[in-house]
Amino acid sequence: MAVAEFELEGEKLLTIEEESQWSIVWKRFRKHRLAVAGSILLIIVAVACFAAPLVAPYDPLELIKAENGQILRNDAPSTTHLMGTDNIGRDVFSRLLYAGRISLSVAFIVVAVSLIIGVLVGGISGYYGGFLDDIIQRFVEFLITLPLLPLLLAFSALMRDVTVPGLPREWSSAVIISIILIVFGWMSYTILVRGMVLSLRNQEFAEAARALGMGDAGIIIRHMIPNSLAPIIVSATLGLGGVIILESALSFLGFGIQLPIPTWGNMLNEYQNDMWTQPAKVFYPGLVIFICTLAFNYVGDGLRDALDPRLKK
């Protein structure tokens, strides 16, 4: 807290200027330059992707035609087509922006839902303890021992043919991949929240809340979860990077989100065949995945330093 000096009637007085929790966090976060750079970059990427219809120079499905009316296939990068056109004549840069929309939303949705499940299950498990806790923990431990990537691959391969009722057919794979990633992704948050709640459960403020007649649900939601927010935010930020990589790995291998929905992963898969003639097309989608994940990791690292200096390594 900043100490300001005031002159009052010739005497020096020390007054403490009150600062809110979040402004302290913001101050600490600002010191981590790479984290700040990462968050700026992420904001730019996210805005560009989510505002793709406004930002993108072309429609992602439009076949670009040259002046002579021929479709421009495999055009080299130029000022009009920043990353060239692909083998059926679509603008790669525009596709990259539209793909980012899917990749980023899948990452956000997966992390958000896993977080909700994880916080609820972990909160209940840690707060009530006993038999319920034992069962939940054994189950979580069991899920964690299962090999993640092979299982994800197997499930997405199994469910390639499944359509979600009420959705256009091409969107099914995006929904199913998100569900699979959630099913295998909530455990780490559960463990985290359970640990936090266990340590908070018997502290004075929790006892006080109980003494004041607050219900269990109220204590968990009003006291336990806000108090364990710092590590949750950090691990969710790091989790975003992880989900982007996992989703694009699945899509790259052909078991993830299926075309015609473009994602960074399946763009890589699609353009892999033209790698020898058009290396740039393989380079950019991967570069975006890499940079976004890196940015999420740095932002997570910065948040860890800012939110809880004790966690700093």
Binding site: P147, F155, A157, D161, V282, G286, L294, K313
Partner: protein, 523 residues
């Protein structure tokens, strides 16, 4: 631990089979307009592959095999025995070495002896049956022919067997009170169809009261390390599996010994009809070489780097190391691999530098001029050839693992350096190097050892993405191909092996913890 392994096999099996779509979903997806697969085709395929059976039965047969169903005794345990390979006339097959003139008798190895049920019902075995005739019944008769199995339904006289003698020695005189005798044709549940020398067929039904006399006593005394277990409570007339006993003797030849006896069944698509275990063995060696090389390299380089950067925290080297490990953890391995191929195989070729092969484990033919292989004069299949092919996948994997290892080592060392005993060691005036080597490092390695155990599990299962990108024929790329071609027996085998290895690794890690760190005690 066995319970956990059992649970994980059960969970994996159920999850994969209950998931919407099921194992055959990909077949429909891959089929184009010309090869449209109808619902009837899928149903037929399911019946062929045994997928129409109840899930519990499928799991049981997947784990324990089909050979014991309908039998009252099961051989539990691993065994192996050899016997001379016999030709059609029943004589041993003898081969002669042309250069030395030595003759050798060919032997066949049976990994696992089958149960008396199968021994009893092995087609071709002679049975002597005592008991009473019990009218006639329509019975399914399966006759093995060279083109396949011929299935007919015939009305045959049925005998309820009191005593069955399996494979009576030819020297022994035939007892007079014999009800019937003959050679086994086929079996369905507890009903065996036999045929005598005149070509007459009979059906013999055995009950729980039936006595079996095997060539070596009650149950055949067969190989080492196992026991015979009476499972009539499971397969007998009132047993849990009584109604399912018909599954035994699958006419399509899909019977197996079950994964519990290391028989993973037969591949559907990758090498149709061949045992999955053979496929795995052909891939395992490559994966072991690649993964152990990458793991050893990354540990040998990564741990010292991490330790050094922790000791010199906030130095320039430390920043370089942390940046590197951040990059490594954010790097999508598929893209990294592609970029490596692009640089070392494609760009190097453009720049007239010795370029690397893009994939595979050896060259098929002598490489083009200008490649590193041609420069080294490597013969396809030679050691140099193999090593050059290993360069890129190993480099990709090692660099990624290196990032992880240096991060673990650094954080673990930082943790230790903050401890009181390190401060004490410094306070009593020890040389800094001694403090680090003797006091800090040894304790910092404790968590690292335990992470290492988990990597050993990964050494066997390989790296799916890296192996796929470099076309490296290992376990990981086998898994990818199996998924792509819907070869579910291979997928299941891979998942099972990986899951078991992880469970074993967890156990070993817990035990190692108590050994390397005496502060931890299990209550």
């Amino acid at each position: 631990m066995i319970i956990v392994v059992f649970l994980s096999t059960l969970a994996i099996y159920i999850l994969l089979n209950v998931a919407p779509g099921g194992p055959l979903s990909g077949i429909r997806l891959n089929a184009d307009v010309k090869t449209r697969v109808s619902d009837a085709d899928i149903a037929r395929l399911k019946a062929y592959l045994g997928l129409d059976k109840p899930l519990a039965l499928r799991y049981t047969t997947w784990m324990l095999g089909t050979d014991w169903m309908g039998a009252n005794w099961m051989y539990v345990g691993l065994g192996r025995f050899e016997q001379a390979r016999l030709n059609k006339n029943g004589d041993p097959v003898v081969t002669t070495d042309r250069t030395t003139g030595e003759t050798t008798v060919e032997t066949e190895t049976f990994r696992f002896w089958v149960d008396p049920g199968t021994a009893l019902y092995n087609p071709g075995y002679e049975l002597w049956v005592w008991g009473a005739a019990n009218g006639e019944e329509e019975v399914k008769v399966v006759v093995e022919t060279t083109t396949g199995n011929e299935i007919t339904y015939e009305t045959l006289p049925v005998f309820i067997a009191d005593t069955v003698r399996v494979k009576p020695p030819a020297s022994e005189a035939e007892p007079k009170d014999l009800a019937t005798k003959g050679v086994v044709l086929s079996q369905e549940g507890n009903l065996v169809v036999i045929q005598d020398l005149n070509g007459n067929k009979y059906a013999v039904r055995h009950t729980d009261a039936t006595q079996f006399i095997f060539p070596n006593g009650e149950a055949p005394a067969r190989p080492e390390d196992g026991t015979w277990v009476n499972i009539s409570w499971l397969t007998g007339a009132d047993g849990l599996l009584a109604g399912w006993a018909g599954y035994h003797g699958d006419p399509n030849g899909n019977g197996s010994f079950g994964v519990a006896r290391l028989d993973f069944g037969k591949s559907w698509r990758m090498s149709p009809g061949q045992p999955v275990s053979g496929l795995i063995m052909s891939r395992l060696g490559n994966t072991l070489v690649l993964m152990s090389l990458a793991t050893v390299l990354s540990i040998v380089i990564g741990i010292p780097i991490g330790i050094y950067s922790a000791v010199h925290q906030y130095s320039r080297t430390d920043y370089a190391v942390t940046t590197f490990s951040f990059f490594g953890s954010a790097m999508p391995v598929f893209w990294f691999g592609l970029m490596m191929i692009l640089l070392f195989s494609y760009m190097f070729k453009q720049w007239n530098l010795p370029f690397l092969p893009t994939g595979n484990v050896t060259s098929v033919r002598i490489e083009a001029d200008g490649s590193l292989l041609a420069a080294l004069g490597a013969v396809p299949g030679s050691l140099v050839d193999r090593m050059v092919h290993l360069i890129m996948p190993t480099a990709v994997l090692s660099l990624l693992y290196l990032a992880g290892w240096s991060r673990y080592a650094r954080s673990s060392m930082l943790e230790v350096l903050r401890q009181d005993y390190v401060r004490t060691a410094r306070a009593k005036g020890l040389v800094e190097r001694f403090v680090i080597m003797r006091h800090a490092l040894r304790n910092a390695l404790i968590p690292i050892v335990t992470i290492l155990v988990f990597d050993i599990a990964g050494i066997f299962s390989g790296a799916t993405i890296t192996e796929t990108i470099f076309g490296y024929p290992g376990m990981g790329s086998m898994y990818f191909q199996a998924l792509g071609t819907n070869d579910w027996p291979v997928v299941m085998a891979f998942l099972l092996i990986t899951a078991i290895l992880v469970v074993i690794a967890t156990l070993v890690r817990d035990v190692l913890y108590t050994i390397v760190d005496p502060r931890i005690r299990f209550s």
